[in-house]
Symmetry: C2
Subunit: 372 residues, 2 copies
DNA sequence: GAAGTCTGGGAAAGCACTTTCCAAAGACTA
DNA sequence: TAGTCTTTGGAAAGTGCTTTCCCAGACTTC
């Protein structure tokens, strides 16, 4: 009885690209309207409840047609018509790295619950990857883009990225960064330096006096901040960090392994080694074991991040805990926050020193140095 | 000199939603055409190189206008016009779980390099999450949807999912699954049973005779397959697995910890414990340590998956290696493969037993049983 | 009972693109 | 030199949706 001429439908289906996809589905709002015997306008209004009142009778007919046809609004078309989309882009260095996947987990959880679509890219090695992805997100007219991870010290590259972000925000998009506050956008900023400084003080308080650092790649600012913070913390205990005992390596398990190899090869045998992240620390522990050195008795080892999956390595790793998942949630929160103040917001995230068995106290010495 | 009347532009900008976003950008193809002094058609043709020849002179003018205006095509609009998008949806249970993040990493790497946009959702606890996300992807007119992870044995729920997938594929989308071959779509299928069976044989060959299994959640088929495979492998050595020594728990570190607690509480002291994945195995090791039982001497422990980040736990974990990243790449490959045969393809992925120190050989006994 | 105010439906314009179809101009053949 | 074919540009129709604008009818108000 509600059947109505499908003239409109046939007209549109007679030609065009839709025909190709027409193997079984591809129901449009026009089809729904035809079936319900109402105008396209009315059908649209029923689906966008709130746009304007529609009589209950009409609404029922439309809803029934929707159900019968299995209609689902084309979000792309809707985005074009309204000029705003529900996608947010996320850029990480490597999604398989638990640091990033933990942050992403928090992000995705919040986004999912709000109906946002999260698009992820792993930029891995390619320095320009971030810029390219922001550009892609601009093309996609994404609502926001979230950059997770350390900035490098490549000024040129950063300037390009900032320019691209600027184009993105000018087009109405929102940009959020999780990491250093260097892009001039809303930022969730882990306090790397302060965390490493606190760690250094704690380790010194445990009685350790000679230190080495397994630093990340040269250009990576997160690594640099952590090293500097650590150095500052030691200085409070009048301990100097010999530049030769700072060994660089990749920000990975293998990087930690290699860096520890380098350290051992140099003949150094510090009381305690600080690897600038947990993943490296685990590699370092493996290398020590291969050498027959058992932590913490042979050498103490500390990391940074408190990665969940690594909480059960043996010996349990002393580290600085960052609330990674929470940081992801906070980033999502910034995206969703309606108000947009003139100045970008920077939310500092403190780290918490977690002492575990990988750095047991060292027996006291002759003259205890002054406390910090 | 190439400046041209912007009548068209002004007309469009005079009203409509675009005005809101107009704070600085929002350049359209019409703007480019106006600036270059050509028609919209020509501008479009230049950007879609290959759609039709355009004279070099025109092309140059258009390209210059694009550069000057910083134009970037609106992909959503393009998708609407062409009827096909470049997004693929990925559903995982928990992106922070290294099993999923490793697969996702492979997937994203391939997708990124082909210009596909990867949208991820974590369905976590919610059983209906997968179906909802497939639905969202249909609304998004995604090119493909990739479901990663174990099916549950909830028939009703699976039927709903299959129906939703069917609607998705009827609309022209492609569906790929990484896990059990239960959805009737192209599948990358890890050989869970065979892998667990091989593991059981290897463990028996090492001299272990009494076993327990830390199984995953009751309904999870991956866990079930692994348990059954393990049981079959033991049977080849005439070892029976007592149902009481199969303890269920969450598919997580804590689940492994709890399950091991339950096992110990029951008084069982098997030679060897098989945790159906590495993450659980790590939890189990932690629980053993808390009890003062040191693996492998006190009790041998084996896992499954060979998670990269867990490769350095101590003692090194015996496990069954799955090429997780590669599996993600394969899934992406199936999405990209142009041909679409009638029957869904199923690609089995064998696991490889990796014996490490967590299951050292057990001293031989009086009567060695027959080999499998 | 005329004037004014809601109400709710629909035609049509709009969003930013692609693609079809037409026409003019040039290149080529006979 | 006429006739055909091949380029190449542009007008307009198209994609699937939202939203503006108009209008008919129902309801109040004095």
């Amino acid at each position: 009885m509600t059947d109505v001429s499908q003239g409109g439908r046939r007209r549109r289906r007679a030609n065009g690209a839709a025909a190709a996809r027409d193997a079984g589905a591809g129901v449009t709002l026009q089809d729904v309207a035809d079936r319900a015997g109402v105008s396209l306008t009315t059908a649209s209004r029923v689906l966008n409840a709130g746009s304007r009142r529609v009589s209950a009778a009409m609404a029922d007919r439309v809803n029934q047609a929707v159900a019968e046809l299995g209609y689902l609004a084309n979000l792309q078309a809707r985005a074009v018509a309204t000029g705003q989309s529900n996608t947010v882009g996320v850029v990480v260095h490597d999604i398989a790295d638990p640091y990033f996947s933990s942050i992403a987990a928090g992000l995705i959880e919040v986004a999912d619950s709000r109906g946002l679509l999260v698009c992820i890219s792993s930029t891995a090695a390619r320095e320009a990857g971030e810029r390219e992805y922001v550009s892609l997100m601009r093309a996609q007219r994404a609502r926001a883009v979230i950059l997770i991870g350390s900035r490098s010290d490549d000024e040129r590259c950063r300037a390009d990225l900032v320019a691209e972000i600027s184009a993105f925000t000018r087009a109405g998009g929102r940009a959020v960064c999780v990491g250093q506050d260097l892009l001039g956008v809303d930022t969730i900023m882990p306090e790397n330096a302060a965390g490493a400084e606190a760690l250094a003080r704690s380790l010194a308080a445990l009685g350790h006096r000679s230190f080495a650092v397994l630093a990340g790649p040269h250009g990576l600012l997160t690594a640099r901040d952590r090293v500097e913070g650590f150095r500052a913390g030691l200085r409070a205990w009048s301990v100097e960090l010999d530049p030769r005992s700072v060994v660089h390596g990749e920000f990975t398990r293998d990087g930690g392994y290699e860096a520890m190899s380098g350290l051992l090869a140099s003949g150094a045998r510090p009381d305690c080694v600080f690897a600038v992240n947990d993943v490296m620390a685990v590699g370092a522990l493996a290398r020590l074991r291969a050498e027959g050195i058992i932590a913490p008795a042979g050498m103490a080892v500390a990391g940074f991040d408190d990665i969940l999956t690594l909480r059960d390595v043996y010996p349990p790793l002393t580290t600085v805990r960052l609330p990674l998942k929470r940081m992801g949630e906070m980033a999502a929160g910034l995206v969703l926050a309606g108000d947009h103040p003139g100045r970008p917001r920077v939310v500092p995230v403190p780290g918490e020193v977690i002492l575990r068995d990988s750095t047991l106290p060292r027996p006291p010495r002759a003259q205890p140095p002054p406390p910090g």
